[in-house]
Symmetry: D2
Subunit: 136 residues, 4 copies
Amino acid sequence: MAFRETSVDLQLRWSDFDMLGHLNQAVYHQLLEEARAALTVGAGPDFPWVLARVELDYLAEVRPEHGPLTVHTQVVEIGRSKFSLAHEITRATGEVAARGTSVIVAWDIDARRSRPLTPEERRAFGADDAEGASRG
Amino acid sequence: MAFRETSVDLQLRWSDFDMLGHLNQAVYHQLLEEARAALTVGAGPDFPWVLARVELDYLAEVRPEHGPLTVHTQVVEIGRSKFSLAHEITRATGEVAARGTSVIVAWDIDARRSRPLTPEERRAFGADDAEGASRG
Amino acid sequence: MAFRETSVDLQLRWSDFDMLGHLNQAVYHQLLEEARAALTVGAGPDFPWVLARVELDYLAEVRPEHGPLTVHTQVVEIGRSKFSLAHEITRATGEVAARGTSVIVAWDIDARRSRPLTPEERRAFGADDAEGASRG
Amino acid sequence: MAFRETSVDLQLRWSDFDMLGHLNQAVYHQLLEEARAALTVGAGPDFPWVLARVELDYLAEVRPEHGPLTVHTQVVEIGRSKFSLAHEITRATGEVAARGTSVIVAWDIDARRSRPLTPEERRAFGADDAEGASRG
């Protein structure tokens, strides 16, 4: 069974570009967040995720004419209370601008701490386990 | 000879906090950028740096009452055209909120590509080399 | 001859929403900027405009489910070196979320000061004048 | 009795500056928000305010060397469920960069609509009325 993947096309804004004339490095992380939201939507209750770790390699600069960007994201690992994603950000014309990974933790917003993934969430992300169900 | 290090205190803004009530994950990268700017200032001409890679572990959430934040940054490796930094972001009360590393590339803004670090830059960051000077 | 108008559909991002659960007030101004860019594109050289004044009435809050937003913009007055726009921001379902006006000044980026609108710009925005041409 | 006023010094970030090399127009609205937060703090419960209207005149551009900026804010009118503020943003060296006004509405976060100012809030902002107390 394949792990979930998504692809989102994201508009850029004038204010996303900095004095060097290219997409500011922090904006990439806003875009990854949109990709994570697209990937987790429908997997469980709203907003139960927080980011635990991110790695990003900036491979080619993005100028205004390179947008909109596409973020392709794939679940690559599913743990007990967290899962990992691989991201690739491409220009409108297809060149890869950045590649990275995120580690996401299921979050209990009231307790403000991590919680186990539910069996439904595990299945939504592509985990193929009876085990996940029994652990819920 | 010690590698350069800096510590900057950074104000947070209301708009930095998201619907989960904590500092949005992308804002941390704006703060790291301020730390990198503080570290590179005076090391050479203005704005000759771009970010090639970032890794960040989010260790504890930051709520409005945790600001201002401090970003402590240290040069940990100096290469031919790039150097690496270790960052630690702490709350006003000292708890570590995030830890990460950046890889910075010296940038030729006209050619829009990397360039070798100058001997002056290498010395400013703490490289202890005759080699650096001869390579300039 | 009608003054130029445009309508742009703009995606929202998770990081655009603040702790009150609605679109942060400053983000509206990023969206107006996108609308102004759409309106001025093709009217003359790139980026020759700066914002001199903005007024905005926030009429209804915008929550994540209200996006994407549409910004409808119309030139309402054309002066010697500036022009005025009326904006209306609507939710995806059509309710008006905000209304405002912008005053834009033609900018000489080298001299860092205002410059007269060119006859081509005046025509592009919808001015119907022989006068504009002679004044260029 | 004088209406409340405040003055806040605000750091700028590299990412606040856009491709024209000056402070992006939307960032000014983040700064005004900080000023409003400083003015309302202690006047009542947390976050009970929303912005209803803003007007801003951009008078001089702000480049990186002009920060930190100061926002001076004064209550200029107090109504039943709203109040008005006058803002002045100055460069570190004192020149006025922008002037504007905000209209703020007291907000009932559960009902998601406006509410009357409490007598305590009216007094905190400088209203000199027995009337305010009886109207609460």
